[in-house]
């Protein structure tokens, strides 16, 4: 074992470059909307896309799995599956997140409360399941872990539901990086709060944590066609966002944002104090911003597609300079680009049909590579030929999304392709570097 260090004066300029590359300061954006506490971002060519896939009965082992795809265009296996790690069960695999040191990925399923921890430090191409956290429900009463958001040495986990009535009233759990439970924070039910949760995102320089709201287990596990006919159930969707005091982890301001506001993306440009989200059911973009008095306010700023046709905006991805936003709408399979130069008035400047159903969208640091997956929820995905399951890679030149590669997740017996994270074999984090002793 050998701890590497600068060995000669000649190495220093490179060391400065490395330090800059690795970004010891706050991230000004991110390659896939990661926590700003995650200091190590991939600012060059990513080598891998990790896809967290829902198992499908009769397809492969039928279990949820973490799939590694080679996305280095110079590689012989470009656009191919390199590895898959099955967790041995099917539990509505959904989202994942890196720990702050980017050594591990936490991933979970919405049907219960289990959280899977994968090590990616030892071999980034071949993640290894190292722990399953099983005490979320017992410690918090929350189920359906959704968002995994790194804080230094610990992880915030936003849940979607609870183990009592399986409705949308839920909360946030705090674990340390070893997976030991630390604290629970219920979503507010007072001052206009509905108690629902979905995504969370932090702006450390404003000491604010923003949360959004979706729906509970009883709704998201139900077949979509059946759900939308149930008028009472359709009222049980989130309609709030909450600004929390991050340091104190206390709700400060509840904002009314009807229609299930989902993913939250902060502009982390110096001086900026705004974030955007998309409300799924109303097909609107919302801006969250501090007003002159310092209060956080939310306002509707744009329409996505034709809301009367319920395009269902799902994932969004903001450019590193916060000047543009990708929006995927599930029902019509469209990928739209909004000019965000003026966040008060986003303008759609491009659209492309990228699949019969599309959900998540991620972009590289420089924005020239865009990745799209297909699955929303097992019981909400389309049926028959419309049930395409894929990872598609595109090149973006600012004018046109050009297909680069595609992996058919059904043909490859992988399941339903959901959340993505990018990986690199040239940026490593380690306590001890491998090398000559």
């Amino acid at each position: 074992m050998h701890l590497i260090g600068p060995k000669s004066a000649a190495s220093i300029p490179a060391a400065v470059a490395i330090a800059t590359l690795l970004g010891a300061s706050v991230a000004r954006g991110d390659e896939t909307c990661n926590s700003p506490y995650m200091a190590k971002l991939i600012k060059g060519q990513e080598d891998y896309v990790y896809v967290w896939a829902l198992g499908v009965d009769g397809l492969g082992d039928g279990s949820d799995k973490l799939v590694t795809v080679d996305v280095d265009p110079k590689s012989k296996s470009y656009g191919k599956v390199l590895n898959q790690v099955s967790v041995g069960t099917r539990g509505e695999a959904h989202h994942m997140g890196f720990t702050d040191d980017r050594r591990r990925i936490w991933a979970g399923g919405l049907s219960g409360g289990d959280i899977y921890v994968f090590d990616i430090a030892a071999d980034p191409a071949r993640p290894r399941l190292v722990k399953t956290i099983k005490d979320l429900a017992a410690k918090t009463g929350f189920i359906g872990p959704h968002t995994y958001y790194a804080l230094p040495g610990r992880m915030l986990v936003q849940a979607l539901s609870n183990d009592k009535d399986k409705g949308g009233v839920t909360g946030i759990a705090l674990y340390n990086n070893e997976g030991e439970f630390m604290a629970r924070y219920p979503m507010p039910l007072d001052n206009g709060g509905d108690g629902y949760g979905y995504d969370l995102a932090v702006n450390p320089t404003k000491n604010v944590l923003l949360t959004s709201s979706f729906t509970g287990h009883a709704n998201y596990m139900r077949p979509l066609g059946e759900l939308i006919k149930d008028e009472a159930a359709m009222k049980r969707f989130g309609k709030t966002m909450v600004a929390w005091d991050l340091k104190a982890m206390k709700p400060q301001t509840v904002m009314q944002v009807p229609g299930a506001p989902l993913e939250i993306r902060w502009s982390l440009n110096p001086g900026d104090d705004w974030a955007v989200t998309a409300a799924a059911l109303t097909s609107k973009l919302w801006l969250v911003r501090r007003d002159a008095s310092g209060q956080w306010q939310a306002k509707e700023v744009a329409t996505i597609g034709d809301p009367s046709k319920i395009p269902l905006p799902v994932d969004i991805s903001i450019r590193r300079d916060s000047k543009g936003l990708w929006v995927n709408t599930f029902m019509d399979g469209m990928t739209r680009y909004f000019d965000l130069s003026n966040p008060e008035a986003p303008t759609q400047t491009y659209e492309k049909h990228t699949g019969r159903q599309v959900n998540m969208i991620s972009q590289s640091w420089d924005g020239t590579r865009v990745y799209i997956t297909s699955s929303l929820l097992a019981n909400w995905d389309k049926a028959g030929a419309d049930n395409e399951q894929f990872l598609r890679g595109f090149q973006w030149d600012g004018k046109e999304l050009k297909p680069a590669f595609e992996i058919d997740f059904t043909k490859e017996k992988l399941g339903r392709a959901h959340h993505m994270k990018l990986g690199s074999k040239v940026l490593r984090t380690a306590y001890v570097a491998p090398g000559p002793r």
Partner: protein, 235 residues
């Protein structure tokens, strides 16, 4: 209490001599106090801090323990410097070229020392520990030069500058704290290139030896840290 970057007074240049450029300093391998520290941009924080005692600092993990060397070459246990008082501990290496890394930590520690000097009630409650993660280069004598006048008792709080005998003793501490060391890999060979970087982290350790907060460059602000110290003292 609204805090911002302008709350931090500039380091007095005359105190540690002329300003030496970051690169030149690094190339000369001078293990002197980081006079260039004032060049580092402070994190701009534009928010209202919750008052001390109105929030909870959870136990994140137990601080690791192991043998360390003082600037006089004495072998001690790290816990001797991280117990009984509230401790702020940061890893550095004296040749660190990243202005958002070790120099920033040094400057913030220096600022905290100044602030606590003006708050006598805190003086005997807090201590600072700077621990090198480059034992091959940062010997006790190098750490002594790096510490400079900070080792002198000026009626302020205690500031310990420590290193380890070798990587063997260092690694359990680095791993235990989760202070990752980053490196790059040569694409053509797959081998690590010989440069080192780290994400700046400062650890707040309570009197029982538990890490209660971890600051990165985005939250490394003296007033926020002092607020956390006061919160622990109110427990």
């Amino acid at each position: 209490m609204v805090i911002s970057a302008v709350d931090l007074p500039p380091v007095r240049e005359g105190r540690r001599g002329a300003v030496v450029s970051l690169l030149a300093l690094s190339m000369l391998w001078l293990a002197a106090p980081p006079a260039h520290a004032h060049q580092a941009d402070q994190p701009r924080m534009d928010f209202v801090l919750p008052p001390p005692g109105t929030y909870e600092l959870h136990r994140i993990m137990r601080a690791p323990d192991g043998p360390v060397l003082t600037v006089d070459g004495r072998l001690e246990k790290l816990s001797r410097f991280t117990r009984d008082r509230i401790t702020l501990l940061g890893f550095i290496y004296t040749s660190c070229p990243d202005p958002q890394g070790c120099p920033l930590a040094y400057r913030v520690f220096d600022r905290i020392k100044e602030e606590i000097r003006g708050t006598p009630a805190l003086k005997d409650e807090v201590q600072l520990v700077t621990l090198s993660f480059d034992p091959a280069r940062d010997t006790p004598s190098v750490m002594k030069r790096y510490a400079g006048r900070q080792l002198e008792d000026e009626g302020g709080l205690r500031w310990f500058f420590l290193t380890t005998p070798s990587v063997r003793e260092l690694m359990p501490l680095v791993e235990g704290f989760g202070q990752d060391v980053q490196y790059a890999v040569d694409r053509s060979t797959g081998r690590p290139v010989r440069q080192l970087s780290h994400v700046l982290k400062v650890f707040l350790i309570d009197r029982s030896g538990y890490v209660r907060e971890i600051y990165t460059s985005t939250f490394l602000h003296p007033r926020a840290i002092i607020g956390d110290v006061k919160t622990l003292l109110m427990e």
